[in-house]
Amino acid sequence: MDDPLLLSRIQFAFTIMFHYLFPPLTIGLSLVLVYLDGMSLRTGDSLYASAARFWTRIFALNFAIGVATGIVMEFEFGTNWSTYSRFVGDVFGSALAAEGIFAFFLESGFLAVLVFGWSRVGPRMHFFSTCMVALGSIFSSIWIVVANSWQQTPAGHHIVPVLRDGAPWIVRGEPVMRAEIVDFWAMVLNPSSIQRLVHVWIGCLIMGAFFVMSISAWYLLRDRHRAFAERSFRGALLLGTLASLAAPISGHFQARGVYQHQPAKLAAFEGHFHTGPGDLSLFGIPDSEAAEVRDEIAIPGGLSFLLFGDRDTPVMGLDRFRPRDRPPVTIPFASYHLMIALGMGFVALTLTATFFLWRGSLFRQRWLLWIFVFAVLGAVAANQAGWVAAEVGRQPWIVYPPLPVDSAGNPLLDAHGFVTYESQQGLRTADAVSPVVSAAQVRRSIALFGLIYALLLGVWIFVLNDKIQRGPELLDRDADRRRPGFLGAAVTRTGHAESLTGTAAKGQDQA
């Protein structure tokens, strides 16, 4: 453990995976909140209002930890990956700046109103704040996925020498190169960003839906807060079913995109070592040394069929890449297959539940509800596994060089039959690490993160459990506390488009 590169990779993997427990939850939950707060505003049904309050509290908890662990990510680009920061700053930076200005401020500003403003603002303002927080979290996901996608399929930039006083800057005999932006929208809409963004969002919706279903199922099994739990479960099931069905479709198109731009990565996903018709492996243990997948169960020609609609078309295997350009296979293969297996599981599970809902007996199927209590862990694992596959599969590159192709779009091969990347056009992970940071420093910071994240996780579980045990409050109990002060009431009233009687009726409903 004396390699700062390996240690920095471990630290980044650890901190990003921990961070990524929370954003999918907050993005998924924010849409649930918009729905609940909106329905409560429209119908005046106190059950919606009490559900909105319950989920807002849980949302805020996740959000706070998401922000705190998110700061770490931004710092780590500079602390551990300074060479990378110098290389991509010009391109990556504008996305990050846009994220900061458009997304972070929107989220944290309105989150305050969302969480603390129940008695300080009227219901419309509260609903507006909910929408703004949801919008902020969506913005945030857009910019960060755009920046990541640019590293996978760079576009809209050129690689040029850094100038100092008008002349190329030479360090240790070599000109320092960096990526500079040429076309902002080509960078934003690079070949993989839309597909990846859609897939990330679907992952977030699955996460949010399964999280709500898990807690609701637990209440149903314990026979507590029945009306609340049934309503939450039904809404989340609809969302979860649609998202689960959409995931494989979006995944399919994304895999095609990956093959087009990063064929080595798809070969690693599928354990496809030798160029030729591709089988779709369902299970196996890849062995890079022997260049084969052991104990494999596969659909012959399945991969070729999914990519080209034809079972015999050859698919580029890892043998087309020089050993130093090949990604590791075991981790991408395992995490990719885990994600797909879980995704299929979500489809089966949500369709089964929808079937019982249609038959009217869903809430009596205790075995199914028990599965839903724990299925949220599967959603967490699927989100994590997808990212692990995407990020390990793009190694050894931190910024992927473009695949060289001829005029017909076929990859250019050298005399040995290898794909020849223009290394200058990309950046290897090994070259991206901070040169001045020592292994000892990274060991210390890993220990520090281990400590504080263990604390965060412990307290998160503890508080979440506490909130779930306490459950949603019935609103009639706190209707008095909720009523805005004299001034607030006046503002709310003049702000309403409805008649005074409409407002009064609502007030009675609460009371």
Binding site: L61, A64, V67, A68, T69, G70, I71, V72, E74, F75, G78, T79, N80, S82, S85, R86, G89, D90, F92, G93, S94, L96, A97, A98, E99, G100, I101, F104, F105, L106, S108, G109, F110, L111, A112, V113, F116, G117, W118, S119, R164, W169, V171, V176, R178, E180, I181, F184, S434, P435, V436, Q441, L448, I452, L455, L456, V459, F462, V463, R481
Partner: protein, 341 residues
């Protein structure tokens, strides 16, 4: 125009940093002062809830400052962040620990639980202010830089007399700023006690300010060079002193809002003073001055700076208007309700 863009971004980064220092400054200060001013749990909750809905949004200014530095001056971002590795890791640790403390102290009613998080909040706030100040001190003083632009010093080099002095100054500045804020937000006994601490923290800040000023004038000549070449810049320290002098005046007149405005101006003036001393450098190289990272050699391309300027021109008015809206929503004295910490 393309020559001007790095200057514009230097100014905008200054604004972001000033925004951060003014806003998170008071909540860091409140985080430090709460151990002294609050007597029982109710008072402590009043104190913490005075910053409760705001601290998270305030920290976003730091995140955005970091992002904008990355985007506008990637060379400076890379050098500073990798060079100050340990300090920044401790800063992150403190920021997270502070957030954890605020979020979680209210979740249990037992005495030891609340006490532990109270101390955590105070220490975390103190550590953030101290480390931020130490970093600023190093930047003003200059740091060793290698020919490739990387930091070339050791960890212990970062803990010189001057950086620590600036660190302590930052702690006292935020403590005073936080105490005045707290005075605005509280009533009764708690406010009485805050009133005493407001005076004390002002006195300590004043002493540190004078010490730092003298030390800078005597020992850090590089920081004064710009003022000798451009006498008009003296306006910044003059305004700074006026703002500081106005704090006790406003306190005497019993106009705490006016005092808080003055202390905001003090914080802003100090950030501008930093900018005036640094310009046109971002990181001053010492001893090899030609290796300094300047506005020109550390900047992104004019194209990127232009795009970012468009983003900032669209985004900043929005940020300022809804930040204003949030502050307006939570105006007035602290009141506890069921959603409070």
């Amino acid at each position: 125009m393309s020559e001007l863009l790095p200057v514009v971004w230097f100014g905008l980064l200054g604004l972001l940093l000033a925004g951060y220092a003014v806003l998170d400054g008071f909540d860091l200060g409140v985080g430090m002062m709460h151990l002294f001013v609050a007597r029982d749990d109710l008072e402590r909750r009043m104190v913490i809830n005075s910053i409760g809905p705001l601290w998270d949004g305030n920290e976003v200014w730091l995140v955005t400052f970091g992002g904008a530095l990355f985007a506008a001056f990637p060379e400076a971002y890379a050098t500073v962040f990798s060079g100050f590795y340990d300090a920044l890791m401790l800063l992150i640790f403190a920021l997270i620990f502070r957030a954890v403390s605020i979020e979680f102290r209210s979740k249990r009613h037992t005495r030891w639980w609340r006490r532990a998080w109270d101390v955590g909040l105070a220490l975390g706030s103190f550590q953030v202010a101290l480390l931020a100040g130490i970093a600023v001190g190093n930047v003003i003083q200059g740091v060793p830089i290698a020919s490739g632009g990387d930091y070339a010093g050791r960890l212990q080099d970062q803990l010189g007399t001057y950086p620590i002095l600036v660190g302590v100054l930052t702690v006292t500045l935020f403590a005073m700023h936080g105490a005045i804020y707290l005075y605005l937000k509280t009533e009764g006994d708690l406010q009485e006690r805050t009133h005493r601490w407001m005076w004390r923290s002002f006195g300590i800040f004043l002493v540190c300010f004078m010490l730092t000023t003298i030390y800078t004038l005597v020992e850090v000549p590089g920081a004064v060079a710009n003022f000798q070449h451009h006498p008009v810049l003296w306006a910044v320290p003059v305004l700074n002193v006026l703002a500081i002098a106005n704090i006790p005046r406003a306190l005497f007149l019993e106009r705490p809002g006016y005092a808080f405005a003055s202390s905001c101006c003090t914080v802003v003036a100090l950030v501008f003073l930093l900018g005036a001393a640094l310009y046109p450098n971002l990181v001053i190289s010492s001893p090899y001055a030609d290796r300094s990272l300047t506005l020109w050699n550390a900047a992104s391309s004019p194209k990127t700076l232009g795009i970012m300027l468009v983003i900032a021109l669209i985004g900043m008015p929005l940020v300022i208007s809804y930040s204003g809206m949030v502050y307006w929503t939570f105006r007035g004295k602290v009141e506890l309700d069921e959603h409070s910490y």
